[in-house]
Symmetry: C2
Subunit: 343 residues, 2 copies
DNA sequence: TTGTAAGCGTTATCAG
DNA sequence: CTGATAACGCTTACAA
């Protein structure tokens, strides 16, 4: 059915080698020959086989993407990842790569490769992008040891060919806290993300650092845990509101959690920002349309994806390149949920 | 570096053919041999090459996923698609397939395959999933003509090996309208999705059908267009509110648009549901945490993904299987945004 | 500028 | 139960 290079060569009256040259853009083919081959290719609707090409070239033109989608952290479902994925897809696409999304890591029939690290080698991907992996995920080290160009998003990673890309979570958290303090708040709480993720840990770190710099105490009861998802923000805020001396402001480490927090506030008959100010993190699509519009720390998700893609392609192109971690700037977007100062 | 089957065969003292048998789970290998091969494989950390295997088997164990991510419809960014993608990934993963996410279709260097249809053939994917394609996208027909097992999500498609999977959008819309009418509403508007998408068109159709069945007029000024995203819901609702006789209820064809609509209502100093009732569609993660909690038509996104995956795998396994369109049931989830009846 | 031929790492067919 | 051997479709020296 599908024509191959021999068939096309035969019809064009040339050798397969010449056809190959044409399709790989080699200059040393006469224009006449090139035209003839291209013409026949069009008629045959010829498309070279990626498998055959990968085999001989030892290059797959594939970027493996690993998203941890365990039950505990269904990360692909977090809006953050979609934006990054789109940017990634577009940028590597421009460089001639496609994305291979690794499917479940549940054990399959025995001899089938199932660990991420095996799958990476099995598919012979030219580069790897890691998203949503816990900082201490055992796969991290195994993958880094592969010496395949790797970029980890929002995760620390060490290895000769591995780089991390992420937002400046510490600075972002500090920005948020500082802003709240500037507005007059001193009883500032946080609803943190999981501390076994880099964003979770770093945003908490920034929260503490800024509190300390401002001379404010970091009280344990003002320090709640969430999982980055909406329900956990709702639950945590309810705990805060039940305190005898609830905070007047809360730094919520993710917008999605802030949605839940906002609801808890309103359900309690309180108002945001009058009774309690909220600052989120991420600037997801709906942040500006919530009531009140959410003040938040904006991550440039597109830039994260683009940066990761570019770093990856650069590493693939230059085997000697030693990757460096990239921390991208964030920005405080002031809207209504933090009010304009304590009255 | 990476050991191949010959190396492993040599070390194990058998032929490559036997190693192949072991790794493909053929029964006709003595236990002793099998053990020996497996043992050496472990020591070598051997992983078979997907490219070589695809080449000889003419099977890639890859499912191509195409998401239309044009500027007009950044569909991957819609929460709906993430959930579907996760379910898809898990289900096909269990059957031994990985997902190939096709990157940008912007033209690349000339001879490189760039149209989706070419890329599908280039990669030799065993099946294709289409998401977010407009009903009349020209790629649709080309892909369907490929005779590669294909499943289109939320898009009509015709072809011997192509099936559509989607929610019952018509029934869902009717459910919503009927519910509003039951609550006493007669001036019911809709903020529709793009009518060149199946969900957009069908939800509008259902809206109209139910209105007609209820003997209610479908007035043009109560019929607004949106693009499934939040901002468009905000804009459309503002138009509705500016009418001299605004509707008392609105069926919004997507939850994300409903978020915007809710904000417009509140900004106008009106209350939902007291002044205007809202019913959404999708039941996205935050729907239950909005204020008011959103009444909506729930799609089972996981089921859509799973169903698509299963249909695809079934088609791949059985070349004679004629696919049939699958329309999955939806469910009205009553929360607070529609009130409990007109007072 | 073009052709020949070897080889990329597997699997499948056919003997034994 | 196991081993040769011939593909699979392409690229790439090396020759011409």
């Amino acid at each position: 059915m599908a024509a191959n290079i021999h068939e096309l060569a035969r019809l064009s009256g040339v050798s397969p080698a010449t056809v190959s040259r044409v399709f790989n853009g080699y200059p040393d083919v006469s224009d006449a020959t090139r035209e003839r081959v291209l013409e026949h290719a069009r008629r045959l609707d010829y498309t070279p086989s990626a498998a055959a090409r990968s085999l001989v070239r030892q290059r797959s033109q594939l970027i493996g993407v690993i998203l941890h989608t365990g039950l505990a952290h269904p990360d692909l479902q977090h809006p953050f990842f979609q934006d990054v994925l789109v940017a990634l897809k577009n940028t590597v696409g421009r460089a001639g790569y496609d994305l291979l999304l690794f499917a479940t890591d549940q054990p399959l029939a025995e001899p089938t490769p199932h660990s991420y690290e095996k799958r990476i080698r099995h598919q012979g991907v030219d580069g790897v992008v890691l998203m949503g992996l816990d900082t201490r995920d055992p796969d991290l080290a195994k993958i880094a040891a592969l010496r395949i160009p790797t970029v980890a998003i929002d995760t620390e990673i060490r290895g000769p060919r591995a780089a991390a890309v992420g937002s400046d979570n510490v600075a972002g958290a500090r920005l948020a806290v500082r802003h709240l303090h500037l507005l007059g708040h001193t009883r500032i709480a946080t609803i943190a993300g999981p501390t076994d993720t880099a964003p979770g840990a770093d945003r908490l770190l920034g929260f503490r650092q800024e509190l300390e710099e401002l001379g404010l105490p970091a009280e344990a009861r003002y320090l709640l845990d969430g999982d980055f998802y909406a329900e956990s923000g709702y639950a945590a805020m309810n705990v805060l509101l039940a305190l005898t001396d609830p905070p007047t402001a809360v730094f919520v480490a993710a917008d999605l959690m802030a949605v839940g927090a906002l609801r808890a506030i309103q359900e309690a008959g309180l108002r945001c920002p009058e009774d309690i100010a909220v600052v989120g993190f991420d600037d997801i699509q709906i942040a500006s349309l919530l009531m009140p519009a959410l003040t938040t720390v904006r991550q440039d998700k597109g830039l994260i994806g683009t940066t990761a893609a570019e770093a990856l392609v650069a590493m693939i192109d230059d085997p000697a390149l030693r990757p460096e971690a990239k921390t991208l700037p964030v920005e405080l977007v002031v809207r209504d949920s933090c009010g304009s100062g304590r009255s």
